[in-house]
């Protein structure tokens, strides 16, 4: 039985290059009785352009939400950056009729209207609050015996003023989900450190330094892997791990996976169906023999 049906908003980075996130999401969510509806016509959420023009960010977010609202469904945004943009847009438009009217004037060009009826749901809210730990536990067939470092990503937990799905200083939801999968995820000092990803826009070397420094600390502390949920962070930690290792002059070989990929493994879905061949970090150790 379908538990919930949601419009699937993929955002830019996931659907243009972070395929293992999208593959694993589309694989595990049906198992948890969540149905995703694809909608034609979405654009960028606007958040990466907030430095250039805040109005563009606001209207792009409103445009995407309006498109989803025409289906009368809530919106699922797996990328925490898109999620933040949409929730901020809702906060502004739902509390200021003058701005809403102005934005709707723009959207009319494409025949769209922002009403504010759809909720915007991120991965942590979906897995932890809507699906729930008990329901996830029911589907775990092969518990994983691993020790993971968890990286939430800045946009997933801050700013709480806008409404995020976990605590800004002591987030627990990923750890709690991992525990159900049999994965131990102890606290480590660098847990809340930024991946540097957004600096890619103008200072890519510094971004890689941030990434490399965090990966080095995690590797030195003896973790088996790093688990993340943000396509921007994952691009830094996994896709650019080799480059970031070169930048900080350290030999990095830390497996980095999306939470959704790990859930698939614990659900006993073959790893070939979870995008594991697309991780560029050495994830072989996690999937070999499975």
């Amino acid at each position: 039985m379908t538990k919930k049906t949601l419009v699937f908003y993929p955002g830019c980075i996931m659907q243009t290059e972070q395929y293992s996130y999208e593959i694993s999401l589309r694989e595990i969510l049906p198992v948890l009785d969540i149905k995703l509806v694809d909608v034609e016509g979405f654009s960028c959420c606007g958040e990466p352009l907030k430095s250039v023009n805040r109005m563009i960010t606001l209207v792009l977010s409103a445009r995407n939400i309006a498109l989803a609202e025409s289906r009368n469904l809530d919106i699922f945004t797996p990328c925490p950056i898109c999620n933040l943009a949409f929730r901020e847009c809702k906060n502004i438009l739902d509390n200021d009729d003058k701005i809403k009217e102005k934005v709707n004037g723009f959207l009319a060009e494409e025949g769209l209207t922002y009403n504010g009826i759809s909720k915007v749901i991120d991965l942590l809210e979906l897995l932890y609050d809507i699906v729930g730990l008990d329901y996830i536990k029911k589907h775990v067939k092969k518990p994983l015996d691993l020790k993971a470092a968890v990286h939430y990503g800045c946009h997933a937990i801050r700013p709480s003023e806008i409404g995020r799905s976990d605590d800004s200083e002591e987030p627990r939801k990923i750890e709690d989900i991992l525990e159900v999968l049999g994965v131990e995820a102890p606290w480590y000092p660098e847990k809340l450190d930024c991946c540097g990803g957004l600096l890619n826009m103008n200072l890519p070397e510094t971004a890689l330094t941030k990434t490399g420094e965090k990966l080095r600390s995690i590797q030195e502390q003896g973790f088996d892997l790093l688990v993340d949920i943000c396509p921007w962070c994952h691009r830094q930690f996994d896709s650019k791990q080799k480059k970031s290792g070169e930048t900080v002059a350290y030999s990095l070989n830390l497996p980095v996976v999306y939470l959704t990929q790990l859930m698939g493994l614990a659900f006993d879905i073959p790893w070939g169906k979870l995008g594991f061949n697309l991780n560029l970090s050495p994830v072989n150790t996690l999937v070999e023999g499975r």
Partner: protein, 175 residues
């Protein structure tokens, strides 16, 4: 010459200051005048150690109306948008949001936009997304498209001309 050297001879720009503060109050319910320079923002700033960003100084300069000094400096482009400054401020001020508005103002003045922001903006204008869909490499060096890995077509604006008209109109708008 750093920002602080310039401030000694700077002239405050009262009108710009008023406009930025007005936007902050409207969007964030935030009042920068309440800042008492405790520098908790700077102590947690992700861009502080590597790039020397000091959010509390940004607020101090804004309070004095010294906007030109900031929009003429690269320092406003070093923020990583980690939102720790906003999260931890005892006065609920958001230096990160002030930096967004300062960068917006610099762009509106026609200052050079650094790095890939221009490319990202152009890509959104022409395709609706910040980058083209990529053929990616597996760990063993094979190349794969979305179709190869069994994913559906991407979602993007159906009518690019109408979409472009929308963004072009917004680009000259203010909140």
């Amino acid at each position: 010459m750093g920002i602080l050297d310039l401030t000694s001879m700077g002239e405050p720009q009262v009108d710009v200051k008023r406009e930025i503060i007005g936007q902050l109050e409207r969007l964030q319910d935030e009042i920068p005048e309440y800042c008492y320079q405790c520098a908790k923002c700077t102590s947690g700033c992700e861009a502080h150690r590597l790039l020397e960003l000091e959010p509390h100084r940004i607020i101090a300069l804004l309070k004095r109306g010294l906007i030109d000094e900031m929009v003429n400096s690269d320092i406003i482009w070093t923020c990583m948008s980690c939102f720790k400054c906003w999260e931890r401020c005892p006065q609920k001020i958001a230096p990160v949001e002030i930096l967004f508005l300062l960068k917006n103002y610099a762009v509106a003045l026609g200052k050079q936009i650094p790095g890939n922001y221009t490319a990202a903006l152009q890509s959104v204008l022409s395709k609706g997304l910040i980058q083209d869909v990529k053929t990616i490499s597996t760990r063993t060096g094979e190349t794969k498209s979305r179709r190869d890995v069994g994913l559906p077509e991407i979602t993007k604006p159906v009518d690019p001309v109408k979409f472009q008209a929308l963004i072009s109109k917004m680009a000259v708008e203010k909140i």
